[in-house]
């Protein structure tokens, strides 16, 4: 990544301009051509630095009110991680270290639905399919902070 790539990412993080030719607009701001903007984004994507460019949505505003983190404690020797992650209702799936004796859950998934009942139903059916009976559903009641997890800080241009 060179300096132009970094400036490009910072521009993209401000949000794609809402105009017919957004890449030309970004090029104008950076002093490069539209073609170069598109080529650079394509390269950053191929290199796996940009995974995707997409809308960030405040899902509560469209009625998706039940947002749950589910912590799972699979039985010894269980190996259904990939299967669990592949379920369509699962937006995130992580393996984490437990806190021995205090918190034995190791797998975490995130689910978003219109109602708590829908989440419970989905989680129950996943639990049946993957053979894990020990889990806990943690509904969020308030969003206190939500930013893209990975970003290049605008003000300092430092990587955080």
């Amino acid at each position: 990544m060179d300096q132009t790539d970094r400036r490009l990412i910072i521009e993209l993080e401000r949000g794609i301009p809402l105009t017919d030719e957004p890449f030309a607009e970004i090029g104008l701001r950076l002093g490069i051509t539209e073609d170069e903007v598109i080529l650079r984004i394509r390269r950053l994507r191929e290199e796996g630095i940009i995974r995707k460019i997409r809308a960030r949505i405040n899902q509560r505003q469209i009625g998706i009110m039940a947002n749950a983190l589910v912590a799972w404690k699979p039985p010894e020797g269980w190996s259904g991680h990939e299967e669990l992650a592949s379920k369509p209702g699962v937006s995130h799936c992580y393996l984490r270290e437990p806190v021995p004796g205090r918190w034995e859950y190791m797998i975490y998934t995130v689910h978003h639905k219109r109602s708590r009942n829908e989440v419970y139903e989905e989680v129950r059916s996943i639990a049946d399919e993957i053979g894990v009976t020990d889990y806990i559903v943690l509904f969020s009641t308030e969003e206190l902070k939500r930013l893209p997890a990975v970003r290049i800080d605008d003000s300092t241009e430092d990587l955080r």
Binding site: T19, E21, G48, I53, R56, L69, K145
Partner: protein, 162 residues
Amino acid sequence: MQVDRIDLLILDALQEDLPLVPRPFEMIADRIGITSADLLRHIEHLQEMGILRGITPVLESRSLGLHAGTLVALHVPDEKADWTIEIINSYPEISHNYRREHHYSLWFTISAPTHERISRILGEIQEKAGLPDEDILNLPTIRSYKIDVRFDCRMEDADGSD
């Protein structure tokens, strides 16, 4: 809620990777069957209503040097909650923080270049908020199997059958 069927189609379409062509909105508008001027008007409206937070890149943490991550849960008594939330949210390394219905009521994620940096942040939070060890769960990421946030934007009156 002033969201119509077109808005929902747009939200659905914009959750796909943006086409890397000179006129990406025209391409999306064609797919939905509206003009690009209409599409942009709807998008602006969705942004004003706070439904759309912007069209932005999803960056890969490891390629940008963020090699360590964790999920932290805290048990915080009510009278300390506001202060503790303020401390937590002040760290740029902390991107997500939610209140959840549980004895451990605050759940947040930290990502940083190293585990040492994460330990230091966690130590500072514990000290500033005055939390005992037993009120903290630190759950470091071993492996990520999936990160693919996508909301089903179909109408509420949809029957829910998949």
